[in-house]
Symmetry: D2
Subunit: 390 residues, 4 copies
C-alpha cells in the first residue's frame, strides 16, 4: 500500500464522518492506497485541536489556504459550510490536489460551473460527497434497474424528511442562513434525492416547485451573538431571520418521460433522517428508506401472480454490493459505512487514474435542478432545467 496524504477542511459532522472513513477504510477494504490523516483545518483552534487528537490527524491548521498549497498533500477533502466550497475547491485544483467535496457542490449553478472549469483545467480527480450512492441497498437498486428488472420506469417518488427544527426554540444556526448555506432542506436534502434520481433513473427536464417557511425568526445561537451584524434582527433582541426555506416540494418531468416528485422538509415530526424513495416500473418497483438502510423493498411482476408482493431484501449477503468487506448475513451496517465505501472508491479511482463518480459534473447537474426549482417557486411556473445550464 502506498501512503497518500490527506488534508481535511472542516471538523464538524462531516469532518467526523470523513475522518472515521479515512481511519477505517484499510481495515475493511484491500486498497492500493493508504490514506494518511495529515492535517485537519478549521477556524477555531481549540475544538480543532481536540478533533485532531481524537480523530487521529497528525496536525491541525487554521489556514486552509496554506494547507492546500503544501506539497505533501495529495488529497483535499472539503467538509465546510457550503459558502466555502468554491474558493477551496478552486484553490485546491490550482494546486493540483485531488478533491472530495461535500454536497451540495456550490451555492448556485454559477459557482458550480467555475468549480467544474477549475478541476477540468487542473486535470485532478474530483468527487462529490453524495454518499448515499454507496448504500449497498441503493447500489443493488441500481443493479436491478440496469438488469431491466423494473422494465420501463414510470415514477420516481422521493422525500427527505427531518424534524430537527420543529421546536421554535431551536436556534438560528448556519444551516438556516442563506449567506452560508445557500438554501435550506432544498440544498441539504433535495440535493441528495435529485442526485439519487440522476443516478438511478435519468435526467430531469423540467420542474414545478413550492417552498415555504413556518417559523420566520429564531433566537441567535449563544456562541454567535457577535455575528448579529450579519442578521436582520427584526423580531426582537437576540433574534434573527431564517433566510432559507423550511420546506421545498417539487414535481419533476424527466427526459425519459418519468413523472416524479421530491419533497424535503425539516418540519416532519417523527422523521429523523427519512431519505425515502419509491421507483415504479412496468415490470417491478423498488422502495428504499435510509432509516432502514440495510433493506431494499422490491416488487416484481415476474413473480408468479399469486405470490407477487413487496419483498424486504436484507442487503447483508455476500452477494450484495460492498458487503463482503463487512460481516456475515444479518449483521447490519450503519450510516458511517457509506463514507467508508465512498473513500474506498475515491482512493481506487486515484490509484487507477479514473474519474470518480459522482463527480463535479454530477454536482453541477444537481445544482441546475436545485436552482431551477427555486426559480419555479419564485415565478410560479414550470421551469426547464436546461435553461439554467445555458
Amino acid at each position: 500500500m502506498r501512503p497518500i496524504n490527506v488534508a481535511l477542511i472542516g471538523y464538524k459532522f462531516m469532518g467526523k464522518a470523513h475522518s472515521h472513513a479515512f481511519k477505517d477504510v484499510n481495515f475493511f477494504f484491500d486498497l492500493e492506497l493508504q490514506p494518511v490523516r495529515k492535517v485537519i483545518c478549521g477556524r477555531n483552534p481549540e475544538p480543532l485541536k481536540k478533533a485532531a487528537q481524537k480523530w487521529g490527524w497528525e496536525e491541525y491548521s487554521t489556514s486552509w489556504k496554506e494547507v492546500v498549497e503544501r506539497d505533501d498533500i495529495e488529497i483535499v477533502d472539503i467538509c465546510t459550510s457550503n459558502n466555502m466550497h468554491r474558493d477551496i475547491a478552486i484553490a485546491a485544483a490550482e494546486n493540483k490536489k485531488h478533491i472530495l467535496c461535500e454536497k451540495p457542490l456550490a451555492m448556485n449553478v454559477g459557482e458550480a460551473k467555475e468549480m467544474v472549469q477549475a478541476v477540468e483545467e487542473a486535470g485532478v480527480k474530483h468527487m462529490i460527497g453524495f454518499n448515499y450512492r454507496r448504500v449497498p441497498a441503493v447500489v443493488l437498486a441500481k443493479k436491478l434497474i440496469e438488469e431491466g428488472r423494473l422494465g420501463t420506469i414510470y415514477h420516481f417518488r422521493a422525500a427527505y424528511l427531518q424534524d430537527w427544527i420543529v421546536d421554535p426554540d431551536f436556534p438560528l444556526i448556519w444551516k438556516l442562513r442563506k449567506e452560508v448555506a445557500g438554501s435550506g432542506p432544498h440544498g441539504d436534502l433535495n440535493a441528495h434525492l435529485i442526485d439519487l434520481a440522476h443516478y438511478l433513473v435519468g435526467d430531469i427536464k423540467s420542474v414545478m416547485c413550492m417552498t415555504t417557511n413556518f417559523i420566520k425568526y429564531r433566537k441567535l445561537p449563544a456562541e454567535e451573538r457577535e455575528l448579529s451584524t450579519m442578521l436582520t434582527a427584526k423580531s426582537g433582541e437576540g433574534m434573527g431571520e431564517v433566510t432559507v426555506e423550511d420546506a421545498a416540494f417539487l414535481l419533476a418531468e424527466f427526459e425519459n418521460g418519468i413523472l416524479g416528485s421530491f419533497e424535503a422538509t425539516r418540519f416532519a415530526s417523527g422523521r429523523k433522517n427519512y431519505n425515502y424513495f419509491e421507483i415504479y416500473g412496468s415490470k417491478g418497483s423498488i422502495i428504499f428508506n435510509l432509516e432502514r438502510l440495510n433493506e431494499l423493498q422490491f416488487y416484481s411482476r415476474e413473480d408468479t401472480p399469486e405470490t407477487q408482493g413487496f419483498r424486504t431484501i436484507l442487503v447483508t449477503e455476500e452477494v450484495h454490493p460492498y458487503i463482503s468487506a463487512w460481516w456475515p448475513p444479518g449483521h447490519i451496517i450503519g450510516y458511517e459505512h457509506t463514507f467508508v465505501h465512498e473513500i474506498a472508491d475515491f482512493l481506487e479511482c486515484i490509484a487507477k487514474d479514473t474519474l470518480p463518480i459522482p463527480n463535479f459534473y454530477d454536482g453541477l447537474k444537481c445544482q441546475a435542478v436545485l436552482d431551477a426549482a427555486l426559480l419555479s417557486a419564485e415565478k410560479g411556473e414550470r421551469v426547464l432545467v436546461k435553461d439554467l445550464l445555458k
Copy 2:
C-alpha cells in the same frame, strides 16, 4: 324502524358495495330507518336482473328517468359513470328525492354548481360518496387533530397509487375515456385525497400540477367494439385513444399555510389500492394507508423523549369510531364496512333532518381543486382554486 325505499342507479362495483351496505346496515347499527332495496337501474337488462336477484332488490328497471319519478322512492343512490351524475342528480332533486351520489360529484365545476343549485332548491338531503371519511382510523385521525394532538399542521402528503393498467394489454374501458370519466386517476383517486385533506386539515388555496400519459392507445374492450364511433382509432384496427391522464401529481398550498402534495397514478406496480397520507404537525404526526385500514400510525412529541416513535394503533377497540357495532378488539374490518358506515350516517341524517357530511358542497369544493390542478398542468402555472369558483 321505519322502512324507506331506495332506488339504486348503477350495478357495477359501486352498485355492489352500496347494495351490500343497504342490506347489512341494520344488522350492525341501531337506526330509525330501515332501507328497502326497492329498485335497481341499469342499461343492460340481463346482468341487471342477475344483480337484482343476487343482491336482493325487489325490482329492476332500465329507465332511471321513470324510477326517479316514482312516488314510492325516497332515496336515489347514484352509482353510475361520472358523466351521468348531473342529469340523474338534478332529476332526483326535482322529484324531491334524497340523494347519495358517488364521487367525483361531476365532470367539472360547472356541472357541480348546477347540482348544488338543484339540491338547494329542492331542499333534499344530499351526500357524496367519499366513503374513506368513514374509515374508523380516519375518523380517529380527525379526532386527534381536533383535540390538538398534532398541534399546528405543516404538511399533508398524500398519494393514491394503483397498478391495474400497467399491463399494455389492459383494454380501453370507460374509466380511460374523458367523455365518460371526466378524468383519469385525478378524478378517481386524487378526488378522495383532496376530500380527505379538506376534511382533516383545511382548504386548498393554490396548486401546481403535472400530468402524463404512458400508454396512449389501447385495444377496445370486446363488448364495446360497436362504440368505436366515439373513439379516435389512430393506432390501428380495434384500438382507441386513452383520453384521460395516466398520472396526476400536484403540489398544494393550503389557506392555513400547510404545504402539501397529492399524487395519483395507475402505474405504480405493486400498489393495489394504496390510499396513503401523512400529516405532520408541531406536536405530532399521523400516517394512514387504506391497504391496512384498521391501523393508524401516530407520533407524539408529547411522549417522553426517549420513547417517541410512530405507534401503530390497531383501530379495533370499542373506544374507536364505529367499532362497537362490529367485533371485539383485533378482529379487523374490511373495505365494504366504510359503505355500511356511510349508509348508516346518511340514514340517520334523513331521520334527524340534518345535512349529511360530506355533501354536494364538499363535492363542489373538491371539484374546484381538481379543475384547478388540470388547468395548472395545462398552463404550466400555479393556479388559485378560488378562480375556479368565481
Copy 3:
C-alpha cells in the same frame, strides 16, 4: 337455490358472526342452497329476542332440545359455551341434523370421541368452526406448501396472543371457569393454532407444556352474582377463583420431524387478536398474522440470490382463494368474512353430499393434542399424543 332451514344455538359473539354469515353468504357466493335463518336459541328470552330481530331470525326459542327435534330444521349450528357442545351435538345427530360446531369440539378427548361416534352413526354432515382455515392468506399458504414451494418443512412456530384480561379488574366471566370453558387460552387459542398446524404441516407426535396463572382471583360479573354457588370464593366477598390457565406454552415434535411451538396467552399487553405463525422450510418460509389477515409473507430460496426477502403478498387478487367473490385488488376484507367462507363451504358440502373439512375428526385430533399438553404441564414430562387417543 334450494332453501335450507337453520337453527342456531347461542347468540353471543359467535352467534352474531354466524348469523351474519348466513345472511350474507348468497350475496357474494353462487350456491345451490340458500340458508333460511329459522330459529335462534338461548337461555335469556329478552336479549335473545332482540338478537333474533336484529339478525333476521324468524323465530327464537329457549329450548334447544325442542328445536333440534323439529322436522323443519336441517342444520344445527352450535355456538354455545364449550360445556354444551357434546349434548347438543349428540342430540342434533340423533335427529339427523347436519351440524356446524364451534371450537374447541369438546371439553376433553372423551367427549370428543362420543361426538364423533354420534355423527358417524347418524351419517350427517359435521363441521368444526376452525374458521381461520378460511382466511384467503391461509389457504394460499396451504397451496404454496402443497406445491412444494417451501420444500421440506423444519419448523412451525405459532402464537396466539391477546390482552383482554391483563386488567385485574376484569371480571370472572365464563371463559375463566373450567366447568364451562374446559380450559383457558389453551382451548380457546392454542386450539386454533394446533388445527392450523394439522391443516398446514402435519400431525403432532409429542408435546411438552408449561401453563401458569398470573391472577388467581377475580370479582364475579355483576349479572352472575347468583351463580356464586358454583364458585369457590376464597379471596373475599364477591370474588371467585380463576380455574383455567392464563397462559399455555407448548413445544411439539411432529410425526414428520418438524420442531414446533405453540404459545397462547391472554396477558400480552398490546396484542389484541394476534394469531401468528411462521413456517420454515428448506425452500422457503411463510409468515401469517391474523391482525393483518389480508397479507401473507413468503420467502423463497428460489428467487435470485440477491433479491431474496420476505415478500408481503396482499392477498386480495382475483387469483387468490375466495377473493373473486369480493372486491377488486387492494380492497381488503375483514374478520367476519372467514365465517362467510366457512358457511359457503359447509353449504356446498351438504349440497354435494361430501364431508366438510375440518370436521369432527379434526376436532378430536386437536382435542387430543390439547389434552396431551395439559397432561404434560401437570406431570412435567413429554407426552405422546397417541396415548390420549387410545
Copy 4:
C-alpha cells in the same frame, strides 16, 4: 489517556469484530485508557499474519501460552472456538490478566465453574462477550423496565433464527462439532437470548426443552479433510457426522413467575441474524429484533386508550444510550458498534477498578440454563436450573 496492551486470541469473525472495536473505541468515546493492539494469536501463521497487518496488530504469535505470560500484556481477549475458552482463561487469570471472553463461557457448567474460580482467585477483571447487552435499544428496554413502565412482567418470548446451514451442501465446519463447539445453536444463539433474559427480566427456575437434527451428515470442509480421524464418517467418503443439534426450543419458568420461551435454529429460511424478543408486562410491552437493531417497539397501557399501539422508537437520539458518541438522529449504527460499546465499558471498568457486567458469573448462570435445557431434552422432563449449579 493511558495506553494498555491487548493480546487477542483468535482471528476469525470475532477476532475481526474485536480488533475493530479496539481500533475505533477512542475515536468515539472519551476514555482513560487507550488500548494498544499488541499481539494477535492463532494457529495458522499465514492468515494470522495478514489479519495482523490489516487490523493493525503490532505482532502476531502462534503460541497463546507464551503470549498470556508476557509481562507487557494487560488484557487477554479470547475469541477462539469454545473448547479453548477454559484453558486460555485460566492461564490468563493465573498471569493476572484482565479477561474478555467470548460467549458461551465454556463447554459446560463444570468448565464454567473452574473459570469463575480462576478469575476470583486472581482478582482480575473479567467480562463475557454478550455484546447484545450493548445495543442501545436493548439498554433502553432495560431502562424502561427498571422505571416500571412495563409493570409486572408476564412473558419473555425470544427466538434466535438463522438459515446458514439449510443448504445440505454446507460443510461440516467446527460449529457443527460437539468436541469443538459444545453445542449448536443452543450455545451459539440461545446463550444470547438467555443472557438477555437474565439481564432484562430475571433468573430462570426451570426449563423444558426439545432439540432436533434435520441433516445428520455433511461433507467435510476442504481444508479439514486431514481432520477426518476426529470424525465418525458413517455416511460415505469425505462425510462426517453433525454432532450438535440443529435446533433447540425451550420453555422456561422464571423465579418471578414469568412464563417464557427460547427458540434457536439454523434452519429458518429467510432469517439471517434474527435475534428477536418480546416482553409483555402489566403496563406495557417491548419488542426487539437485532436485524433492525436501531429500533425498539414499545407499547404502553398508560397512553390514552384510543392511541395505544406499538410505537417504533428509532433509538438514535442523543437521549438514548451510547448514541451521543455517534451521529445525529436517524443516522443509524450497525452490528459492530455493539463491540465498540462493550470494549469502551470494559476499559472503563478496568480504569475505575469495578467489575464489568456481564462477567463470568453471568456466563456461569447462562451455562447452567443451557445445560439444564439439554438435560431436559435428553430426559424428556422439566429440569430445575439450580440442580445444575449444585
